[in-house]
């Protein structure tokens, strides 16, 4: 192995879930207050075709480069498709039927029931996409029984819809355990299914990666899998490994809010570097709770509800083949407890300080991958353009350090940054959406390096007022 571990493969997945938007945290609360809101939401949902051709989604899946976003004026949701043909994607978008089927295949406890036609279509979709081996699709063959009422045997059932028609149900598994209510279990199963989707894409796109060669899986999603005695007990990682046929792997979940993927990346690299494991897979599934999170603003602006997809990623860290980007473990950036809480203090801890250890300046980085939330989702809600804000802070740091003049700030942020394109799926948006592009660019010689920066809002859990951050430098081997 070279001095440092390598990123051996990267993949992504999106699953179109318009009829699950109603179960996102914000829409569910609003519908609870005003049932008429459901109709408004239904009227602003996108078709699968519309979501598929949406440029930020194509960039997320690796079919288009982030630079394509600069060539298309906003609103992107209403834009004429870019004339440039899509490149080879690093993943695909699954239809809602396919997602329902994937949920059924991932369900080992009889939680989800689908009506016959939906089960058949889901089977056809998953077989056509070759997302799972045929043998894994057998639960869909057994589906198609009469759908039960919404309350059977004391367990509440969530109805599953397709364009307003009930096509399935999802039940809880304990009458009084809040963590096993259908809304929680659906959230957890959706994360499992979409983390699996990205994992299967990684294995499909990289046939040289033997499933049995993966030793360990780190799940970095934020969902809390558990029961009443251990909320968030975890190990969705092993559940994904089982479904993906990673027979020699075990795993664990790593929790750090949106910074989880970067912590997972760091742990994976350390496990490989130490020789404990040869190959470690890092995964993150989608966040059902964040579907429609900014939908109120989208409805107010009479624009489509853009948070209608579940997103997932998977990337493999190993010893590398000599052509793959390496992870500089001698330049890990971390937001220490002692770190100043100012924007400048955080930026220094995650950029100039670790780069300084290698004798690098901020200008020496080709691209910074930060929280890549799609601004078209957040700006109408008054939540600002998250990546633009972070790039401005990094650029300002370069000005303060005398690397560039104040007049060069905009040029710096445009050259070193990018427009946001990730679905606002919490941990998913945290730097990792650019990893696939960086992986390709570095291998092709178009990029020499990328600094990935993740941040987490720890204060949301009410255990500390602190936030968190980790950065990792990847570069040509």
């Amino acid at each position: 192995m070279s001095r440092f571990p390598a990123v051996e493969a990267v993949s992504y997945g999106l699953a179109h879930a318009p009829d699950l938007v109603r179960y996102g945290s914000k829409p569910a609360r609003e519908i609870g207050r005003d049932p008429g809101r459901q109709r408004e939401i239904d009227d602003h949902l996108r078709s699968f075709e519309e979501a598929s051709r949406y440029l930020p989604n194509r960039v997320f899946l690796g079919a288009a480069h982030p630079s394509a976003l600069n060539r298309v004026s906003r609103p992107w949701w209403d834009a004429t498709p870019d004339s440039e043909p899509d490149g080879t994607p690093l993943g695909r978008m699954l239809s809602q039927n396919g997602l329902y089927g994937l949920l059924r295949c991932c369900d080992q406890f009889g939680l989800i029931q689908l009506e016959k036609e939906t089960a058949q279509q889901a089977h056809e979709c998953l077989a056509r996409e070759k997302l799972l081996p045929e043998a894994r699709l057998s639960p869909l063959e057994a589906s198609g029984v009469q759908l039960p009422d919404t309350h059977v045997g004391g367990f509440a059932r969530l109805p599953l819809y397709r364009e307003g028609t009930r096509v399935g149900t999802f039940k809880g598994d304990h009458e009084s355990d809040e963590t096993l209510q259908p809304s929680v279990l659906l959230e957890n199963l959706a994360t499992k299914a979409t983390a699996l989707q990205a994992t299967m894409e990684l294995l499909r796109l990289n046939p040289e990666v033997e499933p049995g060669s993966i030793d360990y899986v780190i799940n970095t999603g934020e969902e809390a899998v558990g029961d009443r005695y251990q909320r968030g007990g975890g190990n969705l990682a092993k559940a994904v490994a089982e479904m993906a046929g990673l027979e020699r792997a075990t795993g664990s979940d790593l929790k750090a809010f949106c910074c989880g993927p970067m912590h997972g990346f760091l742990m994976a690299a350390a496990l490989v570097k130490s020789g404990v494991f040869g190959r470690v897979l890092v995964v993150g599934g989608g966040s059902l709770a964040k579907l429609g999170m900014k939908s109120s603003a989208h409805l107010k602006a009479d624009m489509p509800i853009l948070e209608d997809v579940l997103a997932g990623f998977a990337f493999l860290v190993g010893t590398g083949d000599g052509s793959q980007p390496v992870i500089r473990l001698d330049a890990v950036g971390k937001h220490d407890v002692r770190c100043k809480s100012s924007a400048q203090g955080i930026a220094e801890a995650l950029t100039s300080e670790p780069l300084g250890r290698l004798g690098l300046r901020l200008q020496d980085i080709d691209k910074y991958a930060v929280e890549l939330h799609n601004p078209e989702v957040t700006v109408p809600a008054g939540s600002g353009d998250v990546p633009a804000t972070i790039y401005r802070v990094i650029g300002s740091l370069a000005v303060m350090r005398g690397e560039i003049s104040r007049d060069q700030l905009t040029d710096f942020t445009q050259a070193k940054g990018m427009l946001g394109f990730s679905p606002t799926q919490g941990h998913v948006a945290s730097a990792i959406p650019f990893l696939g592009h960086a992986w390709r660019g570095i291998r092709k010689g178009e990029l020499k390096n990328t600094l990935l920066i993740g941040k987490g809002s720890l204060f949301l859990g009410r255990m500390t007022q602190m936030s968190d951050g980790v950065s990792l430098l990847i570069e040509q081997p």
Binding site: S342, A343, S383, G384, F459
Partner: protein, 42 residues
Amino acid sequence: MDLKDKKVIVIGERDGVPAPSLQLCAEAAGARVILAMNQCFV
């Protein structure tokens, strides 16, 4: 704006200016910060 002896509620943002920094500024200007919290908008 004169903040001296004014009661101030501080709402900071993880990716912008965090609450503790805003609190220090407000207090330096003579304000009394009665609540300081961070928010995450994504």
